[in-house]
Subunit: 443 residues, 2 copies
C-alpha cells in the first residue's frame, strides 16, 4: 500500500501520523512545499509577540517523520495529478505513483486586487517565512496597519501593540470578527480594541498601498465614499484565504474552489482523500457545504483521512464551527452559525443576549456576555460568549448543538458552581431562559 | 392562594422569588430560623479568608423580600405540621394555615459522637454565626485541625493557610474529596495540599477532643489502629450533614431522613413541595435516590418548587451532580457518579485517565488530568478533571451525560482551540479516545 500525502501542515502531517498508526507497514510519502516540518499557523501571532518562538511552533520536525518511517519530501511542489492512472507529477522530482492519495494543500492568503500590494513593507502572516520577514521589517518601525479584523488580524494587532507600535485596523464589514460573532457582540469587541489603543476603521475598504517601501494606505469609507490616507511603515493584510486546489482537475469542488469531502474525508474520486483548509464540508445546522479554515477541523479531518486511507475507519462529526480567541485577556468564543449565516440560509431563529457577571455577586466578578440563537422549537443553533472561560462555556453549547438539545433543557442543566468559578445560575443558563421566554411569547 | 415556605436559604428564598414571579397576587410567607436573610453558605470559606465579607454573603436581605411583597418571618422556628388540615404550628407565633407548603429546612452539620465535641474552640462552618464565631476565636491562634477533607473542609483549610496558620486535615477515608473524585485523582489533590503546607492524615478517625478550651485532638489510624494526639487550638469539623426533617411526620423520606421529591419538587403529600439539602432526588445514572447537598440543585429545586406551588410549571432535570472547587489555584471538577458509586450500584464501566498539558506544546501550558467513566457501550457516565478550566470543561461532559452521548462521539467533538486557550486535540478528547480504545479491546 502506497499512501501519498500532498501537504505537510496540520491536516497533512496529522494524516501521515494516523496513516502510520493504522498501518505499520504502509509505504507513506508526504510532499511539502515548505521546508520546516509540521508547524502551527495559529501560533504565528503569538511568536510575533514573543509568547513563543518560531522554532517552538514546529510541532513535528522532519526528523519526527523520518523516525516514524514516513518519507517526507520538503521544498517540493506538485505540478499535477493524473487521477485515472494514480500518478502525481512533481516539479523536479519526476512522477510518484500512489494507491491512496491525500490532498492537504491548504490555502494561501487572498490578495486584494489593488495597487501597491507587491511593495516593500506589505506583508501577510500565513507562513513561518512571513513571520520572519515581518519580524525583521518591524525593527525600529512604529506605524502598522492591519487590513482585516478577523481572528489572525486581531491577534496580530494585539501583538503589535505589545511590541509598542501604533496600530490601526481596517475592516471591510461593519464590526470586528464578523465571521465569528454577531454585530451586538462585535460592538463589545470594538470597545476592547479601543480601550487598548487600537484605532479601528470599520466599513472601510483598502484602495491603494502608497510608496515603495510603503508609506501610507488609502482607504475608502463604504458608507459615504470618503477617502482617508493613513500613514504606515508596515501593512499586514489578513483578508481571508484561497484554497490551493487549482492543479486538481476533475475533482468535485465548491463555488470557491474548495474540494468537497464527506465525513470520511473522501473526495469525488475513489482512493482520493482531502483534509484541512483546501476542503469544504457540510455545516451541521445549515446543511450547506462551507470552506474549512480552522486548525480544529484540519486536525480532525487529517485524522480521518489518514486512518481511512490506510484501511481503518474514522469519521469526522458534522461541522459546528467551535471557535475561540483571546484579545487583551478577554476570551471570545462561538459555536454554530452566526445570525447572518442563518438569515442567508432562510433559517428562522430567535436570539437573546444576557450581560452579567461571571461570579456570584459577593465575589469580585467580571463582565460576561452570552448570546444564544435557537430555532422556533427551541433547538439551540448557535452561541457566542465574551468573558472569562468563554471558550469552555462554549464547549457545553457545542455539545448541545450537536445533540439537538433545546434552550429549555440547557437553561436547567447543572452548571459548575463554586464562589471563585461561577454563580449558581450561570449567565449561560439565564441567556437560555431569556430565549425560551421569548419563544413562549411568540407562540 | 396562601403559599408558605419553611426555610429561607438558597432553596427557600429562591422558591419564594419564583412563587412571586409566577403569581403576582399570591399570599406568600417565608419562615426562617436564622435572622439574616438569604445568604450563601458556599461563600463562608471565602469570607473566612477575606475574599469577601460576611455582609456581602447576604444575597437577598429581609428588605428585598418585603419589597417584593413576601412576608418573611425571621428567627422563627416551626414545631410541627398538620398535613391533613394544612396548618403549621410555630414556636411562639401560633398557627399558620397554607394552601401550598414548601419545605426548605436544609441540613445541619453531622456531629461525630465523641467526647469533647461541645468544648470551646470546636466549630462547624455552616452558618454566618459559625463564621463569626470562628473568626473571633482565630485571632492570634495558630494551630488548626480540619476534620473532614470534603469540599467545605478543604476550602476552609486553604483559608486558614492564607490566614498564616498551621493546618492539619484529618479524613476518615483514604484520600481527599472522596465523594467528588476517584482515588487516582485524589492522589493528585494530596500533592497540591502537601505542596501548600497542609498536613494530611487520611484513613484516620477522630476519637476525642481534649481540653476545654480545646488543646488537642486524638485520632486513630484506621489501618493499623495506632493513635496520635495532634495539638490544636481550634478544630473545625466538616463531616457531612443531617437533614432537618424530623418534625415532618408521615411524609415519604429516604434512608437518612431526606424528603423524597420528584422533578416538580413535589413530595408524597399533595400541595406539599420540598427543595434543597433536606431532600433526596433520583440520580440520572444510577436511578437511585440521593441526598441533595449542593447549591446548584438547591436553587434549581427552589425554582421548580416556587413556580409549581404558585400554579406554574417547571421541572428540574435529572441529577448528574456537576461539582467544582478551586484549591490553591487549581480547579477540581466532576460530573456523574464516581467509580465507587458505580460499583456500589453494580453498574459495569470502563475508566481512563489522561494527564497532559492544557495548551499546545509551544505555549507555556500547565498540567491537566482528565478521567472519564463510560458504560460498555461507550455511554459517558462520569468525568473528573483537575487543572485550568476544569469546571467549564466539565460542563461539556455534564451535557454529554445528560444527552446519552458516547466517548466515541465526544472524542471527535470540535473543542475550542486557540494557542492561549487549549490545544487542537484537547486532553478531554484524548481521555475519551483512550476509553473508547479500551472498550474496543474488551470486545
Amino acid at each position: 500500500m502506497r499512501i501519498l500525502i500532498i501537504g505537510g501542515g496540520a491536516a497533512g502531517g496529522t494524516a501521515a501520523q494516523f496513516a502510520r498508526k493504522t498501518d505499520r507497514k504502509a509505504d507513506i510519502t508526504m510532499i511539502d512545499a515548505e521546508p520546516y516540518g509540521q508547524y502551527s499557523r495559529c501560533g504565528l501571532p503569538y511568536a510575533l509577540r514573543g509568547d513563543t518562538t518560531p522554532e517552538k511552533l514546529v510541532e513535528f520536525g522532519p526528523e519526527w517523520f523520518e523516525k516514524n518511517g514516513i518519507e517526507a519530501l520538503y521544498g517540493l511542489r506538485v505540478r499535477n495529478v493524473d487521477f485515472s492512472n494514480k500518478v502525481v507529477e512533481t516539479e523536479g522530482k519526476g512522477q510518484i505513483e500512489y494507491d491512496r492519495l491525500i490532498i492537504a494543500t491548504g490555502a494561501r492568503p487572498w490578495k486584494p486586487p489593488i495597487e501597491g500590494m507587491e511593495n516593500e513593507g506589505v506583508f501577510f502572516l500565513r507562513t513561518l517565512d512571513d513571520l520572519n520577514a515581518v519580524r525583521e521589517w518591524v525593527g525600529g518601525r512604529k506605524k502598522v496597519i492591519v487590513v482585516g479584523a478577523g481572528l489572525i488580524g486581531l491577534e496580530s494587532a494585539e501583538s503589535f501593540v505589545r511590541l509598542g507600535m501604533d496600530v490601526t485596523v481596517v475592516e471591510f464589514l461593519s464590526y470586528p470578527l464578523p465571521t465569528m460573532i454577531d454585530e451586538d457582540m462585535g460592538r463589545e469587541v470594538k470597545k476592547i480594541l479601543d480601550r487598548n489603543g487600537i484605532k479601528g476603521y470599520y466599513s472601510h475598504e483598502v484602495i491603494e498601498m502608497r510608496g515603495n517601501p510603503v508609506r501610507s494606505t488609502l482607504i475608502r469609507n463604504r458608507e459615504n465614499d470618503s477617502e482617508i490616507e493613513l500613514e504606515a511603515d508596515i501593512v499586514v493584510v489578513s483578508t481571508g484565504n484561497s484554497p490551493n486546489t487549482e492543479i486538481f482537475e476533475g475533482i468535485e469542488k465548491g463555488r470557491k474552489g474548495h474540494i468537497r469531502v464527506n465525513s470520511r474525508s473522501e473526495t469525488s474520486y475513489k482512493d482520493v482523500f482531502a483534509a484541512g483548509d483546501c476542503t469544504e464540508y457540510p455545516d451541521f445546522v445549515t446543511g450547506k457545504h462551507v470552506p474549512m479554515g480552522m486548525g480544529t477541523m484540519a486536525v480532525r479531518q487529517g485524522m480521518a483521512a489518514g486512518t481511512n486511507a490506510a484501511g481503518g475507519s474514522l469519521e469526522v462529526r458534522p461541522f459546528i464551527g467551535t471557535r475561540t480567541t483571546e484579545l487583551f485577556g478577554v476570551e471570545i468564543a462561538g459555536a454554530g452559525p452566526t445570525a447572518h449565516i442563518l438569515k442567508e440560509n432562510n433559517i428562522d431563529f430567535v436570539a437573546g443576549r444576557f450581560r452579567g457577571k461571571d461570579l456570584p455577586d459577593y465575589m469580585d466578578g467580571r463582565d460576561i456576555s452570552v448570546r444564544v440563537l435557537a430555532s422556533r422549537e427551541g433547538r439551540i443553533l448557535g452561541a457566542q460568549i465574551m468573558g472569562r472561560d468563554a471558550s469552555w462555556r462554549i464547549s457545553m453549547f457545542a455539545e448541545a448543538i450537536m445533540r439537538g438539545d433545546t434552550v429549555q433543557n440547557l437553561s436547567m442543566l447543572e452548571t459548575p458552581y463554586a464562589p471563585p468559578i461561577a454563580p449558581t445560575v450561570d449567565p449561560t443558563s439565564i441567556a437560555c431562559t431569556m430565549v425560551s421566554m421569548r419563544l413562549r411569547r411568540r407562540k
